[in-house]
Structure formats: C-alpha cells, structure tokens
Amino acid sequence: MNSQIALLRRELWEHTSFRWLPLILLGIVLLANSAVAWMVHIDGMIHISTDHGPLSAMDLPQQFLELPLSQQELIVNTTLITTGMIINAVLTIMMVFYLLDSLYGERKDHSILFWKSLPVSDTRTVFTKLLVAVLIVPVTVFATRVAADLIVLLVHSISLREYSGEASLLWQRAHLAGIWGMFSIALVQQVIWSFPVMGWLLFCSAWSRKAPIIAAVLIPAMVVLVDTGFRLNTGVGELLLERFPLAVATLEVDNEMEALTYRSYFGGTKFGLNVTEGDIGLSMGNPRDYLSEPKVWYGLLVGALFIWLAIWLRRWQDDTL
C-alpha cells in the first residue's frame, strides 16, 4: 500500500464520522422525502391554505403538473440545490471538528509517541490532515449530494407516476449536470476561500492545551467584538466575519425574472444557476475574476502561514499537553 494512501486511510479509520455521517444524511433525505410522498399517497394529513382556497396534499401532484414548465423547473432544482447546501453545511461542520481534533487528540491519548516512532515527517503528517480537509471532505460532500439528488428524484418520480404515469417528468425538469457542475465549482471556491480558516483550525489543534475549539472560536470572536464594539473599524473584524460562514451560501429566488441564483459569499463572487423562461443557464461568473481578487490570495497566504506554524509546533511536541 502506498504510504500516502495509508496515511489518509488512517485518518478515516480514526474519524468514523466520515463513514456514518453521509449515510445518516442520506437516510434523512430518504425518510423526509418518503414521508412527503406518503402523505400525498394517504392524503388528508396536510391542508395548506392558499389564495385559491385549501389545498389538500393529494392535490399537490396535480398542482405541480399544471404549473408552467419554468416554474416546475424552479421547484425541482431549488429542492435539489437546497438539499445539497444542507449536506454541504453539515459535512463542513464535521470537517471543522476533524481539523480541531487532528493534532490535539493524538497528544491527549499519547498516541503521538507511537506516530512519531514511525519514519513519517511532521510536514507529511500535517499535510495529510490538510489533504483530508481540502480533498476528502469536498469529494465526500459531492458524492453525498449526488446520491441525495438521485434519492429525491427517485422517490418523487415513483410518487408522481401514480397520478400521471409521468415517471420521467422530474428527471427532465432537473438539470443535474448543471447543478453538479455549479456545485463542484462552488466547492473548489469554498476550499480556497476557507483555506485560512483550515490553517487556523490546524494551528489551534496543534497549539491548544485543552479544548482547541475554545481558542479557535474565542480569539476571532474577541477580535471582532473589540473591533466593532469599540468602533475601531480597523477592517479586521470585517475580514474575519467574511471568512466565517464556511459553507453558508444564500439562495436567491428572483420571482419576476423567474431566476434562481445561488449566491456564495466566497470572495463575494456571485454565480449561479439561472432558470429563466424555461431555459437553464449555468452562470459561474468568471473564475478568472475570482482568482484576481487580492483577498483570495491573502487568504491562501495566511492559511499557509498557520499550516507552517502547525508543522513547526508538531515538530517539538510530545504527549504533554
């Protein structure tokens, strides 16, 4: 077995959440969507008041089928995008806890003495943990969302077939290639944008003597508080806040334009999926614009600095906290 692969596998052996959390998320997606389909099936459970009078769950498929094509697309794609965003958010939180534990846990349980008795350099060790955050987590997020999309479409297609025999309608309305393409670009942006945060988390993990999460959250929170509370307006608080929403993005639905825009905070670039007049276009902004943002580069630089510090700290650490 290749040693880099062995090092990565070792991370996944230790952090079992990488295995069960995506499965639990998919289970929830399956359950929630099946529940909706089931309610439609048995009817009478949900009565939604609308401008056009009460709406029974049983009427939902019919209502949906009567909508214009662009509205149908909007509903299907919004559902898929939202599901993906939730999965991304949850797995990103998992990544935060992983990074915080990665260099602290081994000191706490003394296993650092064993890891360091093997001919693996500290640079390689820290690099492996970073690789989990920048590669394994995004790939997991992507795979989980793809599976979730298929589950959502499958469950409701089965349900819709009962009413209209239209088994393939939802698959036609969903723009999977577009969504997946946009989402993978969003993930790359997300990794680049949150790189300094990853570095910071690794540094806190290597440096903290107890509960790294306290230092990791408290220090930036204090900086923001002092900066805004005393109205110093140095801009530092703003810089930190900007990086804080690691996986949060807003979804804007412009009804008039019938456009759906996925807006990410990452570097302020707006890019998204425009569903306009039944035509779906993927607008990603220009990746070059994103990369020409000085902020993006400063972030990478700061991240690299923290990672260098984490490596340096690990070089001189034994199992004493």
Binding site: R10, W13, E14, H110
Partner: protein, 286 residues
Amino acid sequence: MTTLVVAKGLGKHYGRKVAVDGVSFQIEAGRIVGLIGPNGAGKSSTLKALLGLTRHQGELRVLGRDPRRDRAKIMQEVSYIADIASLPSWILVADLLDFVDATHPAFERRKALAFLDRTDISPQHRVKQLSKGMKTQLHLALVMGINARLLILDEPTLGLDIIYRKEFYSQLLNEYFDEERTILLTTHQIEEVEHILTDLMFINAGRLMLDMPVEDIGSHFVQLRVRRDRVGDARQLDPLYETQQLTDSLMIFRDADVGRLQLLGEVRPPKLADLFVACVKGGLNE
C-alpha cells in the same frame, strides 16, 4: 565498533526546572544499555531528546544524525516503545499492521505475524479491547517486525504483572537481540533487567552518576559484610555507602584495596540494585 549514540553536554530544562543537567555518554552497537534512575531522574527526557521528540541543549548524534532535524530519517532505523500504552486505542490490529507495513520501509510483516501468532491477540481485535499486557505484546510484535539498529524502551513493563514482565524481557533477549542490534532501556526496577544488561548508566537528578560495562562493575565495586565490632576500621577505608543488617553492616566500596577489606569481613561483588542505591544515596558522580 560502531557508535550509535553520542551525547555531549546534553541538557534539558522545563522552565526553571532542570531535568537533564549536561550529561555525556556514548552507546556502542551490540550492547544492551540500562539507563537506570529513580522517578524524575531525567530518564524519559534523555530518551525523548534522542528520539527528536523534544528540544534540548548540547550536542547529540543518533546514528550520525541530529534528532532535532532528522527525526523521520532516524526512525527508519530506531524503534521506540514508550512507558505508557501509546498505540492508538481505536485501531484494528490488522489495520495497524497494514499501516506500519505501508509507512515503515524496514517492516517485515511476516516476522510480526509470527510473533503475534503465539499470543492471544487476533487481527480483528481493536487495541482498546486488549489488556495492558497484550498491548505491550502487540507493540513488541511490531518492533520484532522492524529491522531496527537501535531499540529504545522507556519503562516498557510499567504496570504489567509479573508473568508479562518476565516474558517481555526473555522474548526481547531470545528473539530480538543479536550482535547487530542495540537496546537502550530505562527502568527503575533494576532487578528485572540485571541479568540482560551489558552496560549500566545510573542517572539521578539529571546527572549521570555511573556509566560502565556490567563486566567491569566487579573490578571497581565491592560489597563488604562486616561485623559490628569492626565497623570503625571499615569506615576508615571510605565506603561509598553503608547499611545496617541485624548484626552486620553492609558497605559498598569503589576502587578499594580488596586485600585489606578481606581482613575485615566477607567481600563479594555488589548486586546492581544495592550499587544503585549506594550511588544515589552516596552521591557518586561520574
């Protein structure tokens, strides 16, 4: 003879507290060296410096390299078992073997498995399911598989029962050790390792008190059992240390005139444990 470790004025302090106070020594290939000292004497700090696990003062070379810079390279030829169970508790034995196999170029899985076969440890066990004794066996199995030039053991039998302790050292001696290999171990239970050591290093309060091949001990140190009425005469010969036993006194002498001692009582080579106490209490300095 190849010299594996050279320390010159090796020092380590934690804040103001001095753990290792400028010790100098060499370790030659093919030896089993016991670094013996009471708790807090600086044993672990010395080992951690050798292993590149901590910063230190003074000059230190392990296999010709500086452990501060080249830990990863040095560990290709050095194995280490710490005083506390350091194997990760969450790992499966089979996965652990895979991992070491993939990351350690000098690991021979076959040898480790051969050793494991004779224990109750199964590849499907998780480390946390093993008793302390079995964890040590597992770690020893890994070490057996690594073709290392230097094995460093820090109180390897701490907390083990007598069966595991005896077995550990006998396996170490019979199955691991050969002329090509060198072992450096620390312990404060000297009786257990007395019969396997080739070299002794006594350390106390961060200072090296004695550094000598075991075979030379007899020609430098003697123990005299002397009756009460002749104690006065014996004391004039400047014993290193003295203890009372019922009707007799036991005294340990360094480089004394054995002929004169024999006139006063019974002379024999000291037990290492007694010599150790004498060195610590008598404040011997190398």
